[in-house]
């Protein structure tokens, strides 16, 4: 289980409306309800995880993110979160645009494919990386759109998305010294706080 990145709670306003896309068992939302008194809604596909969210008292709707967010109004949320899911979505570009249509801000985390371990597995060993963050073999993986800090920032520019904050964490959600200095090489998880260019 990958823990959510430590920065996320700092980027959430108290009593704000938060939508979590692919909320899993609801741990992040439940924590934010507790600490930030947020008004939370999660979207999740897996009925077992939906039940786990209900155990925590969360509201959670079963919805396939590949079908978009057309059932949501513009600017309905203060923050839309998507942790470790962007790379598994059919059209990450459309997803990002939708997140910033329904939310004022977005928080996105994804595996940095340019992380040094991935570079070694691909560049030296000549294999698609398989490791704790990317555990699946290439022919059977939900992670169909892997990218790097640099790739992601280029996309943000194309989509007129402003990067409010950029950071990195390890799989335990903690800060690493090297990752902070040189994120595209030593950052395991890319963490971004975004808004639409005004």
């Amino acid at each position: 289980m990958i823990s959510h990145s430590y920065q996320i709670p700092d980027w959430i306003a108290k009593n704000s409306r938060v939508l979590d896309l692919g909320c899993g068992d609801g741990r992040l939302l439940a924590q934010l309800v507790e600490t930030h008194a947020i008004d939370a809604l999660g979207l999740e596909l897996d009925p077992d995880k939906i039940a786990a969210c209900l155990d925590l008292g969360l509201s959670v709707v079963q919805q396939d993110l590949n079908r978009g967010l057309s059932n949501f109004n513009d600017q309905q949320f203060d923050t839309v979160i998507m942790t470790q899911t962007l790379q598994a979505i059919r059209r990450p570009d459309l997803a990002l645009s939708e997140m910033l249509r329904v939310g004022r801000e977005a928080i996105v985390t994804f595996p940095n494919f340019a992380y040094i371990r991935n570079r070694i597995q691909l560049g030296l060993a000549g294999h698609m990386p398989v490791n704790p963050q990317l555990p699946n073999p290439w022919y059977d993986t939900p992670n169909i759109h892997l990218s790097t800090f640099r790739d992601f920032e280029e996309l943000c520019q194309t989509l007129s998305i402003r990067i409010l904050e950029k950071d990195t964490s390890n799989l335990s959600g903690k800060r690493t010294w090297l990752g902070t200095v040189w994120p595209n090489l030593f950052g395991e998880v890319a963490v971004y706080r975004l808004t639409k260019e005004s």
């Binding site: 077992d48 209900l54 155990d55 509201s59 709707v61 079963q62 059932n71 949501f72």
Partner: protein, 378 residues
């Protein structure tokens, strides 16, 4: 498997204050046939109202007389330790107005004429039922229900409650329902009504005067309805193209599914009143909280104040998942707390009555949280 409620006893509760009805007219007085399970707590905060569907009644759980009888229609989901846990909740289930299981309906005596109402029983709507249920709550001393729960037409009552009495509903579970009927839904109901009305024994609804019942028409109505409750998959699994058992091969029955539908029709026509069937299907047809789209559904739901659970079933084509999702999307747009799951099932619309592990897990998680929000041992 959790314990059963055992033998339960219904109670007939009289109401002497007239009830004005949505589509005109009023009932000068009425009775409601009610069953309750579990115990109302001191704060009277743990009541759960269970609303029945088209052909259901007050007998939702437990057994009448002895455990050898058929249990109530939602026995799998109501009882000690079950989704609607009678160790925690005080469960109220009633036969709706216009019904034929003991509450005032076409079979009851009209105090003005001294004769049975029959076809002159006034048209009742989901809103009328909700008002009558609110009076029942008053009678029981329940100011606010912890939850109101129902499948199909029962889910529509739960939805109407959240709109009409927002301050009296803590949570609403709306299962296999729709915000209103489609033309296709109404068309099926009309075929059912025509089957009854064209039965020579119907006599414009005055069949009691002739000491007959339109059994053939009611049976046919049930057969049509029953097809819409099942799915192609479940009928295929249950009957396929197999032939009926030889010992029952009579009356020109060719396939097992024919035998099954005839049996269902016959059983139903023996227990269900034709005028009630017409009245209940009309209540379904007219249900429309958007008042013919004069108010968008998100706006209708904007004054609700409860938590919602909406559930649908993949092979339900009477009220398909997309109909439930209309309710979900409207609640999302209204900014209301809603949880939703589209449950995998082969059983079509009937799935809401049938045991299923994922359905139970999610329903129970929601109801357990409703109980927890009451404040533990409240």
């Amino acid at each position: 498997m959790a314990a059963s409620l055992g033998v339960v006893t219904p109670e007939l509760i009289p109401f002497e204050t007239p009830l004005a009805l949505e589509r005109g007219g009023s009932l000068p007085r009425y009775d409601l046939m009610v069953e309750t399970y579990g115990t109302l707590n001191a704060k009277k905060s743990n009541a759960v109202l269970v609303c029945h569907a088209l052909s259901g009644d007050h007998h939702a759980a437990g057994y009448h007389e002895s455990e050898s009888n058929k249990p109530g229609w939602w026995n799998h989901y109501i009882g000690p330790g079950k989704c609607i846990d009678t160790d925690r909740f005080f469960v109220v289930s009633l036969n709706n107005l216009g019904g034929c299981s003991g509450s005032t309906g076409p079979l009851s005596t009209d105090p003005e004429t001294g004769k049975a109402y029959g076809p002159s029983f006034p048209e009742v709507t989901v809103l009328d039922w909700v008002h009558a249920q609110a009076r029942l709550a008053d009678h029981l001393g329940v100011e606010k229900f912890a939850a109101i729960v129902g499948g199909s037409l029962g889910g529509m009552q739960a939805l109407q409650w959240s709109i009409t009495y927002p301050e009296r509903v803590g949570a609403a579970a709306i299962i296999a329902a729709a915000p209103r009927l489609t033309a296709q839904n109404i068309a099926f109901n009309e075929v059912a009504r025509q089957a009854i009305m064209r039965d020579p024994n119907f006599f414009d609804g005055n069949y009691a005067d002739h000491d007959v019942i339109p059994a053939s028409g009611v049976g046919l109505a049930r057969m049509v309805g029953h097809i819409t409750y099942l799915s192609d998959v479940s009928m295929g699994e249950k009957f396929g193209r197999s032939l009926p058992r030889a010992d029952r091969d009579a009356e020109g029955v060719n396939f097992a599914v024919e035998q099954y539908l005839r049996y269902q029709g016959e059983q139903f026509s023996g227990r269900f009143d034709a005028n009630t069937y017409i009245l209940m299907t009309r209540a379904l047809d007219y249900f429309d909280p958007t008042l013919n789209e004069s108010i968008p559904l998100p706006q209708v739901l904007s004054t609700t104040a409860c938590k919602f659970l909406v559930l649908s079933f993949t092979t339900d084509w009477r009220f398909s998942p997309s109909r439930s999702e209309e309710i979900v999307d409207a609640l999302i747009q209204a900014g209301k707390p809603v949880s939703y799951t589209r449950l995998e099932s082969a059983h079509g619309h009937d799935a809401f009555l049938i045991p299923d592990a994922t359905y139970e897990r999610i329903f129970k998680a929601f109801m357990d949280r409703v109980h927890q929000d009451l404040g533990g041992n409240a």
